[in-house]
């Protein structure tokens, strides 16, 4: 069955952006286009249209210079659902240690006919660098502690799905804000869509200038939980801790962990998100993680369609710029 033209194409009109490097750059309209496109893909999936063909004949390269399981798999599957061919490159070490620079590695892979490059790198700004040097459309899959746009988009999509809107909601990001690219992207996206954002965590893990992004800063979860519609529990990144941001995991869990007692202080319909992978017993106790307020697994499946939407929109930009009829 050819289903190429069976999905709505009006949703994506107005999309002209070549790269998705971060939510800081995107307008409210662009955010809504991505979210609406994702809704459309979700609708199609629900009626069994899981294999679409718009990217047939194109190549998506997944360049992961930093370890990743869920994001890498999610992107690979998203590309396949759109019928693109994929090439995967993983390197946990520095590209320079192999004697070839990061840009040269990416250029080499691009020369194999790649149109779309999904990149994860430990260096903030790495996707921006590729955008300067490559002809391909670049999609940021996480750059250091800078941005992780698709994760924030899937968080926002999940919240919108649950509440039917973003505007007017209070979303509290809990935990390590300092080292979190997910937090930065969420703040940009949520603020543009009209949410009130609270960041809540230990003083050592909240950078002092964060309030200039228009967020409320709290260091006491119990003070803010009762007026929060959605809690996003950021993972404590043990690999980034230098051992002195907080005294012990026990104390962290006591002050900022989500458990049964805290849930009882929250709004009845509070939504609990966690970008994962979660540390059970640290940010969240198992009963809450698996409880009725949690949409952690729903986030994962939404991640797939968000990434499909992003790839599809970049494809539309590319074909339009090349003068190929869509």
């Amino acid at each position: 069955m050819n289903i190429d033209h069976e999905y709505r194409t009006d949703i994506s009109s107005g999309w002209t952006r070549k790269h998705i490097l971060g939510l800081q750059d995107l307008s409210k309209d662009e955010l809504n286009i991505i979210l609406n496109q994702a809704s459309e893909f979700k609708r199609l999936a629900a009626i069994g249209e899981t294999k679409l063909t718009p990217l047939a004949g194109t190549v998506v390269a997944n360049l992961f210079f930093e370890p990743s399981t869920r994001t890498r798999i999610s992107f690979a599957l998203a590309a396949k659902r759109l019928s693109a061919d994929t090439v995967d490159f993983s390197s946990s070490g520095s590209s320079l240690s192999k004697g070839e620079s990061f840009v040269d590695t990416a250029k080499t892979i691009e020369a194999m006919g790649v149109s779309y490059v999904v990149v994860r790198h430990k260096t903030p700004g790495a996707p921006q660098l590729l955008a300067q040097h490559l002809d391909a459309n670049i999609l940021n899959a996480g750059d250091g502690t800078h941005e992780h746009p698709t994760q924030a988009l899937l968080d926002i999509f999940t919240i919108r799905e649950h509440f039917g809107k973003i505007e007017g909601l209070t979303v509290t990001l809990v935990g390590d804000i300092l080292h979190s690219r997910v937090a930065r992207s969420n703040i940009w996206g949520l603020k543009k869509l009209g949410a009130h954002v609270i960041v809540c965590g230990p003083t050592t893990l909240i950078p002092s200038d964060i309030s200039r992004l228009g967020v409320e800063v709290s260091h006491n979860l119990d003070d803010v939980i009762h007026r929060t519609d959605c809690l996003n529990l950021l993972r404590i990144q043990f690999e980034r801790q230098r051992g002195h941001f907080f005294p012990s995991i026990r104390e962290y869990a006591h002050l900022f962990g989500m458990n049964k007692q805290r849930i009882n202080k929250a709004k009845e319909n509070v939504l609990i998100l966690a970008p994962g992978p979660i540390n059970r017993g640290v940010e969240i106790t198992p009963d809450v993680a698996d409880g009725p307020h949690s949409v952690i697994l729903g986030q994962v499946s939404n991640g797939l369609i968000i990434r499909m939407a992003c790839l599809y929109l970049l494809h539309l930009q590319r074909t339009a710029s090349l003068g190929i009829p869509g």
Binding site: S94, V103, L129, H146, D209
Partner: protein, 427 residues
Amino acid sequence: MKSILIKNGRIIDPAQNLDVQGNLLIEAGKITGLCEATVTADEIIDATGLIVSPGFIDLHVSLCEPGFEEDETIESGTAAALAGGVTSLACLPNTSPVVDDRSSAEFILLQAGRAANCNVFPLGAVTKNHEGKELAEIGQLVAGKAVGFTDADHPIENAEIMRCALEYTRMFNRPILNRPQVPELTDKGQMHEGYYSTVLGLKGIPAAAEAIMVNRDIALAEMTQGRIHLMCISTLNSVSQIRRAKQAGIHVTADVTPHHLALTDQMLESYDPNYKVLPPLRSQEHIDALIEGLKDGTIDAICSDHTPHATEKKSDEILGADFGIIGLETLLPVCLQSLIIPGHLSWSELISKLTCGPAKILGLAKGTLAAGADADITLINPDIKYILEAAHLKSASQNTPFLGKELQGRAEIVIVSGEVRYTAEKK
């Protein structure tokens, strides 16, 4: 040696409090003095529209030889100096091997003599191999003509070592040049800690990292009566502390780079490694304080902190990139852009920071156009505008954020020891 008459220039010599339209005569490598336009000389230079200044003196430049000749050599670095109007420079001992013994210092002088560009004054290491553990052979280095002591980009971490160094160098009346940054607070830092480091996800270097060591160095200078010179001051708090210390009569001096005056931490939004310097580019409030410090004499000198990195060694990714940019050839235009054009300093004030100010710190009998002084002279064209292109650069490296930017002002003719060593290309 030919006599030279520089005719009809604006002669500015802050050391003599001089700013006049006139003519200057040079004979036998020395300055004879102001004269009539009718005096005869072997060579006549028409300086109409130009400023006649003492040659610039740069307190800390990385020449990278021996050891890192792919970045810069003594020959290329001193050629870049001349093109920037710098007639004397002190070179950092951060070579391989480190300049921590007499023969290393003498090698630099030998190579500088062969290059015959500008005057070169070696700086010796404070500690052996810059390890911060044992003092280098400071007395031997003085014998090898080292004019001051520094561990270059390694701050002297241990307060006891710093105390001993300040006490020991007092014997030789030489300054210690330190780059004040507490390593615990700069570890893995990429840029100034503030709004932009938060947004960009780059680890910040707080302003306090500098203030803490400035405070310590001033306390040690007071205690030991040694001479401390603080390199590349970048924060408001440092300026306030140095101002108070000077008022209290403590022997402390300081310099600032042009790029710390011209650029803010916001530039890192581009993630261009050419904006990654140490100390990091700060925010506007710090720049305002630095300018205030230049005006009231708290900051004595402006230095390029020329730090070349070869293109092939440079990482495009900001985390892997080395700190530092080249600066000799942009020293004057960037000062013009950030200090003269906005009206913060007069020409005489700026020139003092580039000539007699640094000369005094190193105890050099230079930096003036007074009769009998060495004829080291820079003729400045203050009006010329041009786009900085890689092909213009004499330096072996091109790591500067000013490439492709429009600049104003350049050295037109540079005279060292009474010889014309550099003439700018006509544009």
